[in-house]
Symmetry: C2
Subunit: 442 residues, 2 copies
Amino acid sequence: MDNLSGNSISVGLIGCGIVGTGVAKLLAQSRELVASRVGITINLAKVADINPDTVAALDLAPGVYTNDAMEIINDPSIPIVVELIGGQGIAKDFVLAALNQGKTVVTANKALVAAYRDEISAACEASGGDFLFEASVGGCMPVIKSLRESLVSNRVDSIFGILNGTCNYILTQITQEGIPFKEALAQAQELGFAEADPTLDIEGMDTVHKLALCVALAFGTRVNYKEIYVDGITRITPLDITIAAEFGYRVKLLAITKNHGDCVEARVHPTMIPFDNLLSSVGRNMNAVKIVGDAVGEMVLYGAGAGMMPTASAVVGDIVDAARNIKLGCHPRIPAFSYQPQAIRDLPLMPMDEVSTRYYVRFSALDRPGVLSKIAGVLARYSISIASVHQKGRHTEGPVPIVMLTHEAREADIQKALEEISGLDVIAEKPMLIRIEDQNQE
Amino acid sequence: MDNLSGNSISVGLIGCGIVGTGVAKLLAQSRELVASRVGITINLAKVADINPDTVAALDLAPGVYTNDAMEIINDPSIPIVVELIGGQGIAKDFVLAALNQGKTVVTANKALVAAYRDEISAACEASGGDFLFEASVGGCMPVIKSLRESLVSNRVDSIFGILNGTCNYILTQITQEGIPFKEALAQAQELGFAEADPTLDIEGMDTVHKLALCVALAFGTRVNYKEIYVDGITRITPLDITIAAEFGYRVKLLAITKNHGDCVEARVHPTMIPFDNLLSSVGRNMNAVKIVGDAVGEMVLYGAGAGMMPTASAVVGDIVDAARNIKLGCHPRIPAFSYQPQAIRDLPLMPMDEVSTRYYVRFSALDRPGVLSKIAGVLARYSISIASVHQKGRHTEGPVPIVMLTHEAREADIQKALEEISGLDVIAEKPMLIRIEDQNQE
């Protein structure tokens, strides 16, 4: 393939939104720096976007812009294709078409990789391109590089991730300002930390996509991301966050996966994390991932999980890895999903009902004698033991909050118990449940 | 070179102390896991140590042990040599001999790499071996991989590192238990967190070695590690740590480097870090590194900086990287010191006198009227402005502590001022100075 003229390697960029613009900018501004480190000049040969306005500010040389992505994919002088359209639509066709031509593909598209793991893996295997997607989990941080390379000798035991900057920003604002969810969301939108349609973020699905990639890379298993339990942050109230703090916890949207040998636990939901766990200190729109391995113990990566330049940094890191491999003729160098294709297994996901953890439950109860004993009676019948009880102010006529922290209990049991308690005549509204994670403390 | 039989690659290990033993164990326990990920079996072909007792517990196959390291270096069937003797003595000869034969060398030896950067670089260039030393900075964490690979497009602006587990353990104990340095050191020695001769750790030289590597990798400059300013933790008292906490700071032995374009700031000393900086939460014997880059912003890595298995994890990560490259015939793949040899510069170190920072100064003064004004007068003459003053209890007959936090000031000025203040008749002993770092807050 005529892709190496002197020490320059050509890159084609498909999709020039925020991250795409960042990649074009970063390739330009780091051109000499990268050459001085790598000995290769990265040449942004083509930029494809359906809208020519998106590239107007980029000062591209004549002939670089195209409105036809296939022009990049079919150009034999471009060995590296960067897909930054996002989503599970047309991006899939472009990625697979490029891989099928033996090109190396770099992407930040977690939704795509989570959904089409098998197709991508097969295409890489058939034609020998590298597939790099560092920017799809944890933005700038080397989460994927750590799992595929640094920790290669580790049996991963668990991963805990704050993987969505929008949710972390909103939860931080609720915590620090005591404002309700809707107001925090509006602030986040105003500051550009949340999109106009924030559903994918606040309902947790973006985090699920990222967790699915971590599960695949850590455990070498196919996982259907649609089966991962997910609960977003929309129901979290300042009251819950305040009470959690009184117990020594912060509330974060956490992606959790644990290796049970014959099955994998994977879930995404608001989670109470004790203050002495480093993840509880991750504020604003920052991300962090804790990986627990049998040799390393606990390792944490922290950084910007989104944003134009941090994400571009991860994308360009991948581009340079790809360029080194192409220059030296050594690709595929690392299997896309960390394991050799024939070693990939089909470990079942642990059903959510069987998950065991500790719980925070807030009941809204009428202030009558015997309420506590009624609630406790139901919990006891489902073998849920109470670690502590906290009854907030009794000054009002209406319902009062009663908060309980449980010892470890089965999800099926707590759900059945809460359903039964909800039916009690002293209970005013649906109980609030937040799961607690304090097994892997710092 | 006859080094690839089937999909197995042979490794020779020189030095079988704690980390060497860990590497041998980890290679054995992760053999199938690594093969399933990488498609290569790593074969520990030879282990050299002058003392046969060290390998007794390892259950090595017959013929694997040797007391002659050159047997590994001269064996054409062993393409990867792992040096884990440590120190700047014989290890140097083995490393250079192996590199000169075109072998890939993996090491955890920061003292060696800091001292013989040029020789190592030249040997790699001449013969084409990879040189990998992830385990030499930050133990299990991918500090070197991040600087050489992930952040390749970033102009690094600064690095802040807690890089010595012994010091961090001792400082954590002084903080939490209020015990003096000597007692904390004795505890650390008892628990195996400090060596019998802890000089290299507690005087800061181990941290200097690691910082020198970060400087070289981040800025592409030759740096003489002996010129880096260093001050250890032996003078830190529980009183200073308590007062620091009252001001909202924790005391850590911090490695600091900043990019000033035409020169490099690099220093190692006890440093006050505000609570809201993630590094202040790094307790026990853990390590953390914050890298600030123009594209990523702040990125933090946290993990075990030492210990048998975490360090072994980094060494085996390097071995596998090397094995992938050898299998695919692509080495050297990444320049040892991150930059192309011809791009390496000779940036001067900023003289410590010219460094500007904020300071904590504790004076031990006689409790007489006018003391404060005398001290403040001297500081004012050296253009040092005071941010806050804190006078501890006046209940004693003897000298009382007076603590001042300064605004940013030049090191030369504060040193001259302190010398002058030390000469005042109201000052009972040499003032205590701790530098403050709160520019790069979380």
